[in-house]
């Protein structure tokens, strides 16, 4: 090889190195389109927001605050008023008592540990604390015994003004329905319980399939009847062979996941589930 050819070889090699270096730098310098977009924000999609009363424990009665026992001395003057009150109260209990047991049994309130404890601290008498457990029982007891109740009037209230239960100051009031946040949490929990049993079919365009299943649940989380397909979307020519399998596996996933373990106080919210089965559920 001549000297001139060696020089030319060196030039060519240098040129290639420079060119590939430039290309690499150029590729690195191209703005990454993903970076230009704004950073993802976590968004929860909920149809209904606000203007709806909600609470974390929709069924619980608010805690009652009772005045400390002031002793019968003060009330000695007031016993007469409660006594004539009882016949007036009598007609009211039936409408109040009867509709309540089915949806919200009074026993539920009792196992809550904090309330009896609070009562015990305030008043060691066990009988009193039972009376205070709920309005319903209280009324029932009152009408049965017909004896004047002890005072629920707090110290700063006007004497003898009322013997109604005073509202708690430190508990949230009950809500009419589950809040959107609760609904989202329930939906996530349902998906979490379905996930181990869902296996999406693979194939061309299989990720486009989306099957919506409707299933009715009883209070224990078990399935009532059989789950049914509400709709199926994303069917194309190439994945139409998969759609039967997709629906079948969706129903099977629901059946395998039952009984669902969901909080009982939101039964109204989850008594009918319509989970969507698509590829993302399995990922």
């Amino acid at each position: 090889m001549e000297r001139a050819e060696k020089a030319a070889l060196g030039i060519a090699a240098l040129g290639h190195v420079a060119l590939f270096g430039l290309l690499s730098v150029g590729f690195l310098a191209t703005p990454n389109p993903a970076d230009l977009k704004s950073k993802p924000i976590e968004v929860s999609l909920a149809d209904d927001i606000a203007l709806e009363s909600g609470s974390p424990t929709p069924e619980a009665d608010p805690r009652q605050v009772e005045a400390p026992e002031e002793g019968p001395l003060e009330l000695a003057a007031t016993p007469p008023p409660p006594a004539p009150e009882t016949p007036r109260v009598d007609p009211t209990p039936p409408p109040r008592v009867e509709p309540t047991p089915a949806p919200r049994p009074a026993e539920r309130a009792r196992p809550r540990p904090e309330r009896p404890k609070a009562r015990e601290e305030a008043r060691p008498e066990p009988r009193r604390s039972r009376l205070d457990s709920s309005i319903v029982e209280d009324l029932r007891e009152r009408t049965k015994a017909g004896r004047p109740r002890s005072s629920r009037i707090s110290r700063d209230m006007i004497e003898g003004a009322t013997d109604n239960v005073s509202r708690g100051r430190d508990t949230t009031p009950p809500g009419a329905a589950a809040t959107p946040a609760v609904q989202a949490a329930l939906a996530a929990e349902v998906v979490r319980q379905l996930r181990p049993h869902w296996r999406a079919p693979t194939g061309p365009d299989a990720e486009k399939l989306r099957t919506t299943v409707r299933v009715a649940l009883n209070r224990n989380g078990g399935i009532i009847g059989t789950p049914e397909i509400v709709r199926q979307t994303g069917v194309t020519a190439s994945n139409s062979a998969q759609k039967e399998l997709h629906a079948e596996r969706a129903i099977r996933a629901v059946q395998l996941a039952a009984p669902f373990n969901l909080p009982a106080e939101y039964y109204d919210t989850w008594k009918v589930l319509t989970p969507n089965f698509d590829r993302n559920l399995s990922q």
């Binding site: 001139a4 060519a12 590939f20 690195l28 993903a34 990720e207």
Partner: protein
């Protein structure tokens, strides 16, 4: 709702990254094609400089030759030149001296020998000039096929990956196909300059050969006149 977001950033598509993540067969193809490209450009630089020099120096040599009064003095001056025209001239002079050494001169035979000697010198010089062109021709015709081989191999591998992952999303396939196509890109990158340079250089060498032949013919006719006179 959470969509699979694949971040195929540009860094994974830079030439170096594509090379590094390639299969070893594809890597070998890429290295071979890169060497071929470097070799092509080395030949292009060397040959183009050589042809330019030959053309320029040949011009001035011929100008000087036709102006020269004394051929022997001119021969002494340019006897050891590397120029093709000078080589042809030296071959002609050497044949002339050998043929006219004796007492009797065979004019017809001398003319033929002069012609043959100078024709052989022209052919030899053209061969020397074009000795690297066959490399360009080979690279120009073979490099695309080699690159295509690398691409086919890489795509086969990409399909194997698809079958193994049971996932046909573009994000899984894209890097393999990009790396496979990169082999064809390098093949074309090497072949295109090689083909252009080959055509250009063979055209230039043809012109130089025609010019040498014209020079040889002119010198031959000059020597023939000398033979008549002798």
């Amino acid at each position: 709702m959470d969509q699979l977001f694949v971040n195929t950033d540009a860094a994974t598509l830079s030439p170096v990254a594509l090379f590094l993540q390639a299969d070893f067969v594809v890597k070998a193809v890429m290295i071979g094609l890169l060497l071929a490209s470097i070799w092509t450009w080395a030949i292009i630089f060397a040959v183009s400089r050589k042809l330019k020099r030959v053309r320029k120096a040949g011009d001035s040599f011929e100008r000087d030759f036709w102006k020269a009064e004394d051929i022997d003095a001119f021969h002494r001056m340019h006897g050891d030149s590397e120029l093709p025209a000078a080589k042809v001239f030296v071959a002609g002079v050497a044949e002339w001296r050998r043929s006219t050494k004796g007492s009797t001169i065979d004019r017809e035979g001398t003319r033929q020998r002069l012609g043959t000697a100078m024709g052989a010198a022209v052919a030899g010089e053209v061969d020397k000039l074009s000795e690297r062109l066959n490399v360009l021709a080979t690279i120009g015709s073979v490099a695309p096929f080699v690159g295509l081989f690398g691409t086919v191999w890489g795509i086969m591998r990409a399909f194997t990956a698809i079958a193994a992952e049971q996932n046909s999303s573009l994000a899984v396939v894209a890097p393999g196909i990009a790396e496979a196509l990169f082999a064809t890109a390098i093949g074309l990158f090497a072949a295109i300059p090689a083909v252009i340079a080959y055509n250009r250089f063979s055209h230039g060498i043809d012109r130089i050969e025609a010019r040498l032949n014209r020079f040889a013919d002119g010198f031959h006719s000059t020597l023939s006149h000398e033979l008549e006179a002798a």
